[in-house]
Every structure is written in C-alpha cells, then in structure tokens.
Subunit: 144 residues, 2 copies
Amino acid sequence: MARKEDKFLDDFLAYLLARASHLVSEDYAIVLKEAGIDRPRWRVLASLSDYDKMTIGELARKVLMKQPTLTKVLDKMEEEKLVKRRHSKEDRRAIKIAITKKGKEKVSKLLIKAKKHEKAILKNYTKEEEKVLKHVLRTFIERL
Amino acid sequence: MARKEDKFLDDFLAYLLARASHLVSEDYAIVLKEAGIDRPRWRVLASLSDYDKMTIGELARKVLMKQPTLTKVLDKMEEEKLVKRRHSKEDRRAIKIAITKKGKEKVSKLLIKAKKHEKAILKNYTKEEEKVLKHVLRTFIERL
DNA sequence: AAGAATAATTTCATTATTCATATATTATTA
DNA sequence: TAATAATATATGAATAATGAAATTATTCTT
C-alpha cells in the first residue's frame, strides 16, 4: 500500500473534516475542563459573545444543536446565571438569549485561551494556507 | 458590525471546522438514510474498505468512537453479517474485525455516492484550494 | 377573523454514550 | 519464574441525547 491518498478515507473530505474537527476540539477540551465548563456551554457563551440576544432558534443553528437540546442546556445555564431569557419585542413568540455579566467573565478568559490554542495549531502553516483553509470552510458554511 | 471575520466564531478555526464538518456530513446523511444505514455503521464499513482486519482499538480511533461504543456497534453489525470478529493470531487479547461479502456489497455503492457528493461540494473550488484544504486537514490529523 | 405557520417548550420512548470495572492475555521486571 | 503492570475487549449501570408528538403562544396571510 503506497500513499495515504490512495485510500478512500484519507482522501475523503467529510472524513478529513470530521477527524480534524474532532481532534482540534478534543485538544481544546482540556482547557475547558480546567475552566470547569463543558462544550455545549462553551459554545453558547462563545456564540453570545459575538451575537448577543439571539433567539433560541438562531442560537441552535450556531451551536449545532437541536432546538429541544438547546432549551435544556439554556435551562441549566439560566440557573447558573450565565444567560438570561427575555421575550423578544419584535416577535413575542420568540425568546432572546442574552449573556450575563457572570457569563461574560467566564467566557472572556476562554476566548483568549482559545485564540492562543488556535495560534499554536496553525503555527506550522503559512498565512496563505490559513487563509485558504478558513475561506473554504467559511464558504462551505454559507452554501450548505 | 462589519465583516464576519471580525467576529470571534467566524474566524475561529475549531468552530469553522466543526460547523463545516457538521454541514457536510449532514448533507451526506440523506444518502445514508436512503441506503438504510446509519453513520456509525457507514464509518465502520468505509474504514474497513481501506484497512480490512483492524483491531477494535485501531478501528475506534479511525471512526472517532470510544471503544465501548464501537464494541456495541460491532455487536449489531456482526449480527447483521456486515462484519466478522476473529481472534488475532499475534495477540490473543485483540480481535480483528473483517468486512464480509455482504458488508462489501453494501459499502461499495456508498463509496461511489460519497465521492460524487464530495465532487459536488468541491466543484466551486480550484484544484489548488482543494489541495491546500486536504493537506492542512491531513497534517492536523497526523500531528494531533 | 380564520387558518396556516412559526417559536419555544414539554413529554415520552428509544437509543447512544460514558464510566468504571471485569476478564483474558501479554509484557516487564525483580 | 512469580508477581506486577499494561493492554485489548466486553459488560452493566447510570446518564444523556435524540426524535417525534402534542401543547401553548404568537404572528402572518388572505
């Protein structure tokens, strides 16, 4: 058996993505564990640090969870005072999720660590490679 | 709010990977559903189509599952006659998993469809972009 | 205003996942 | 070589995730 690329999986995009994603986020999971937070919560807080006051539906798409799953995560996070629920003014069916002060404090340190972690992972690649990688991933997300 | 890249998540590698991976594999899940197979089984069969007779531990790493999870998946797949267990000759603690004729038949059509699906996803990108993307992903996997 | 659609929640049954541990085997080492 | 450690897999119980309905409240369409 010669080159890896001759194998199906080692040249299969969906697999390369899944595996790379899995490894990268598993690697960062150590940081999360130290901070005493799990992945769903981290994702919610990180999302809210970009877009505060999303509806639950919007947030569910961002964090790659099903809506009923997210509802339950938010129940716990609300109890822990990391997020708040507010009825949307525009659409009173919808609920806007906002991050609390406590939530912001928790996430701000993690954001810095996350960026450091990413830098470490990308240090062996050129700026150009990083640019292509992120561009392609970003456009996948837009198109799919 | 200007560009997406100014947001944390939209420039955060782990998130871009997770989301792209999620979307790509969700898109292919339609094909799997039609074929009446679920993701764990598909991953096992696809892995075995490259490397037949892996031990359970090796396979678990390939398919991104914990060993106990995989053992249970294999129990079902063995019952369905998609795979076989054999004691390893070199190490009698270990068990080698082999794909059966039925398993091969099942997976061969899916491999073709998977490649088609990938081609469709990548059609908007240059060969060079595809090369960089896969190279970076592959080296993540090797290094992490 | 009626009916369809949407947002979120709740419930329930099913299935999956994890953790810790058990068993068998192999490797190490004193 | 006997004891100990390490490895590969299996198992069982506890926990969690998922999917599919049914529910409530609200908004949109005509």
